[in-house]
């Protein structure tokens, strides 16, 4: 892996490898999320990949992608704690598998998609804004179609109330509808000028001068970068219980725990291991005890958000088991806090985590995702180093972090007609 700092706040990582037949180029922007900027920063990447000065609409963009042998141009928006990651990615086949070389063409195409409007002083057209507003609003509304994701999102909103992490990364439909062309153009220029940026390439070859051309493009924006603040660990507080009723058949319950110990560095790794021991895979406490032994749920999984010092446990349940599931989960957390687990259980969990981490090297998208999510700490972007640190986590470290967990939120989604027990 080669690392290069291009600018203040802009770096470039090239994971050179000949194991893939494709190249994946990504440009990631990291910004602090606020209620005011959520909607505009959500619509922006969709507008960028939907057209550019030389490709005036998505039909033209996709016709170009077809000619690049089905190259995939995608955008992603997600929250990493209090920070939003906005990504634009292009994946395409290597020249040796194409009838005509496409490497240079593909990289220039990506450059144009990201910088074309800025370089040509080309704004955003009313027609494309209307289309993307409609689609983004539909996307916001469609969260309700996936009940598991909906329940997890509601629990996040409650636990992170008042914090950036609690803001839905697409904003609200009202905010989207209110956006103007000027808002969007202003947000675009601000993003290029001030965001923390990581550019990554995973593949065999890059055209000469790729990093330099990216650097030159950002130089034109007259960069004005300020380092991003660290995530703030969510504080302890009273446990809030919320029940929502919808016409569903299976219930959902999501428990949110705080530890007041956040951070993105290796010191918070015990929480990562602890969450996996609790509810990571079919060897975990929740799977074995809550699902298999007590048959209380179809799924019961734990996930840690280390930078915020929080952990969520989400389950699909029989509606009248909601309280029993909540109690069973808390019992398992308490067991970990008291050190009531064996060394064998811990080793099983670490083996699975380390095995899965090493397997990321063979998954181009996952490997790139690992590089881009660890934008604060270069050391943590080294997969082998990260794996080694995970393998060193001790039972006492796991017990200690579990002991700091306090239940802050219980969100339950139930059918309309069932009474809670």
């Amino acid at each position: 892996m080669s690392y290069q700092k291009l600018y203040d706040g802009i770096d470039f990582i090239f994971q050179k490898t000949n194991k893939f037949k494709t190249t994946l180029l990504s440009v990631h922007f990291y910004t602090k999320v606020t209620e005011e900027n959520a909607a505009v920063n959500a619509i922006l990447p969709y507008l960028l990949i939907g057209g550019a000065p030389d490709y005036p609409d998505f039909t033209a963009v996709n016709a170009k992608l077809n000619m690049l042998y089905g190259a995939e141009l995608t955008c992603k928006i997600r929250l990493l704690g209090d920070i939003r990651q906005t990504s634009i990615q292009l994946a395409f086949i290597n020249d040796s598998y194409a009838n005509n070389p496409i490497l240079k063409d593909a990289t220039e195409f990506l450059h144009h998609i990201i910088f074309g409007r800025f370089e040509r002083d080309y704004g955003f057209l009313e027609k494309e804004i209307l289309r993307e507003k409609r689609l983004l609003c539909q996307q916001i509304e469609s969260l309700k179609n996936n009940k598991r994701a909906y329940a997890r999102n509601k629990a996040k909103e409650l636990l992170f109330s008042g914090e950036p992490a609690g803001i839905f990364c697409y904003g609200t439909t009202k905010a989207v509808e209110a956006l103007t062309a000027e808002d969007i153009l202003s947000a675009y220029k601000k993003l290029l000028k001030t965001a923390r940026v990581r550019i990554t390439a995973v593949g065999d070859t890059l055209p000469e001068g790729f990093a330099e051309s990216m650097s030159a493009a950002f130089n034109m924006t007259e960069r004005d970068y300020s380092p991003l603040p660290d995530d703030i660990a969510t504080p302890y507080g009273e446990t809030q219980t919320t029940v929502e009723r919808m016409p569903v058949i299976q219930g959902k319950t999501v428990l949110g725990f705080c530890s007041e110990q956040g951070g993105d560095d290796l010191e918070t790794l015990p929480m990562y291991v602890m969450a996996d021991l609790l509810g990571g895979g079919p060897y975990s406490r929740l799977f074995l005890n809550v699902r298999e032994k007590q048959s209380l749920c179809y799924y019961c999984a734990a996930n840690a958000l280390r930078s915020k010092g929080v952990m969520f446990v989400d389950s699909g349940i029989e509606p009248d088991n909601a309280n029993r599931v909540s109690e069973a989960v808390q019992k398992e957390v308490k067991a970990l806090a008291e050190g009531d687990f064996t060394e064998e259980e811990l080793q099983t969990c670490k083996r699975a985590l380390c095995d899965a981490l090493q397997a990321l090297k063979d998954d181009q998208v996952a490997c790139e995702g690992f590089l881009s999510s660890r934008f604060r700490q270069l050391k943590e972007a080294d997969l082998d180093a990260f794996t080694f640190e995970v393998s060193k986590i001790t039972a006492e470290q796991v017990r200690s972090v579990a002991a700091k967990l306090k239940l802050r939120t219980i969100y339950t989604l139930l059918p309309e007609e069932v009474q809670e027990q």
């Binding site: 994946a91 009940k147 899965a356 090493q358």
Partner: protein, 417 residues
């Protein structure tokens, strides 16, 4: 004993395809630059196999959902379960049941041979009791309820019920709470002993493996397994559809639609490939149809499409979100019939061909995708990567000929709103 082995090459990759004396097929792709491996041990047995006979015996009918139920139970043994064995090696294990297959799998970046031994062992040693069956009925009952809350799944199952009268492809893979209540340990053994025999099974592996050593181990482990003959029930499925529209009410942010056109089944690899290319050209993001539907605010950000097929069933299926599904489907029909008359353009054809080729190349980057392709070959009897060879030889005339064969009167729409 190994009956025969052949090597098939494509795009700098080699598939080693072997057939053992007992009929077990083994597909292996070595990727020395990879750290990990992905392995599937599967059977050509899925939710559509509700009627069958073993070794020329009487046909029996089994409850819906039993193939999926059996998949859940196979992880258990008298001493524990397979997950705990994989836990000791660090591998990630799982399984899935589809309409025409059940697959047990693991992926790992260490201790590959130990994991292979576990996989071959637990799948070949069933253990079912009345108590364990009863417990699983509870867990699967919850899984069924989870899918009942999924608008996308409901949309799809309802479409299949519009298109198919007799064929069991219309039955939900998990069955129903009522149908799984009829499952007994005896029935599970009966299904297992019929379908989990080497002639009906396959192993597909890709990753950092030594093909010869892997083959030797598989042969050594399974050489005494006995095969049997399976006769699958035939269903007199008429060419016509059942009904051309179904609407299901459930809370969704925007109505979902699935438009399906029933096709002649078992048309052969070349025509299936041409049909997939047609769908890409007609419905893909660079298509005139997609542009028109988006311009008129008739669909969301995607128009999904696939050629859905298996033994005795096939359909062209397109789906998406729309504020007015009936209007959207009417526009789609109008567009298809117009292109059917006028012919597909060279530009659309070539663009779709390049896209499909590019997607095929990308599949080689991921061990799981490679194994997925090999599993498809094992289930359908295709030669691996024959489709890549065919893709280059397809012509615009092939595409237009195939397009003219599609009968839009055999079409149905499923809506969830």
């Amino acid at each position: 004993m190994i009956k025969n082995t052949e090597i098939i090459s494509a795009l700098d990759e080699k598939v080693q395809l072997s057939v053992l004396e007992n009929g077990l097929r083994v597909y292996l792709v070595s990727k020395p630059s990879f750290k990990s491996a992905y392995a599937v041990f599967g059977t050509c047995y899925g939710s559509v196999d509700t009627r069958f006979a073993k070794d020329g015996g009487e046909f029996i009918d089994v409850p819906a959902g039993i193939a999926h139920f059996l998949e859940h139970k196979l992880f258990e043994s008298e001493d524990g379960d397979a997950f705990s064995r994989f836990a000791k090696t660090g591998a990630s294990a799982n399984a899935y049941t589809s309409f025409d297959r059940t697959c047990y799998l693991f992926s790992c970046s260490d201790k590959f041979y130990e994991n292979l031994d576990i996989l071959l062992d637990f799948v070949r040693h069933p253990y079912f009791t009345a108590q364990t069956v009863q417990k699983e009925q509870g867990i699967i009952g919850q899984e069924i309820r989870m899918y009942e809350d999924s608008p996308g799944w409901k949309l799809f199952v309802n479409l299949l019920n519009c298109l198919y009268k007799e064929h069991p492809v219309k039955i939900d893979i998990t069955g129903t709470v009522e149908s799984i209540a009829e499952i007994t340990d005896k029935l599970l053994y009966s299904c297992y002993e019929t379908f989990y025999n080497p002639k009906n099974m396959f192993v597909c592996i890709a990753g950092n493996i030594d093909c010869d050593e892997v083959l030797r181990r598989i042969d050594e482990t399974t050489c005494n397994d006995k095969s049997c003959t399976v006769e699958k029930g035939q269903f007199c499925e008429p060419a016509d559809i059942v009904t051309n529209r179904v609407n299901h009410n459930m809370p969704v942010s925007m109505p979902l639609f699935a438009f399906g056109i029933k096709d002649k089944p078992d048309i052969g690899l070349k025509d299936m490939l041409i049909t997939s290319l047609l769908l890409c050209a007609l419905c893909g993001p660079a298509s005139k149809l997609f542009a028109e539907l988006t311009e008129k605010n008739r669909i969301g950000s995607n128009l999904g499409f696939e050629y859905f097929f298996g033994h005795g069933f096939s359909a062209l299926i397109m789906d998406g979100e729309s504020c007015d599904p009936d209007e959207t489907v009417a526009l789609m029909r109008e567009h298809f019939e117009k292109v059917q008359k006028e012919g597909l353009s060279e530009e659309a054809f070539e663009g779709a061909r390049r896209r499909i080729y590019g997607n095929a190349v990308k599949h080689f980057d991921n061990a799981e995708d490679i194994v997925g392709e090999l599993v498809d070959c094992a289930v359908h009897g295709f030669v691996p990567y024959k489709d890549l060879e065919l893709l280059n030889s397809l012509t615009l005339e092939d595409a237009n000929r195939r397009l003219r064969e599609i009968d839009f009167s055999k079409a149905a729409v499923s809506i969830v709103r």
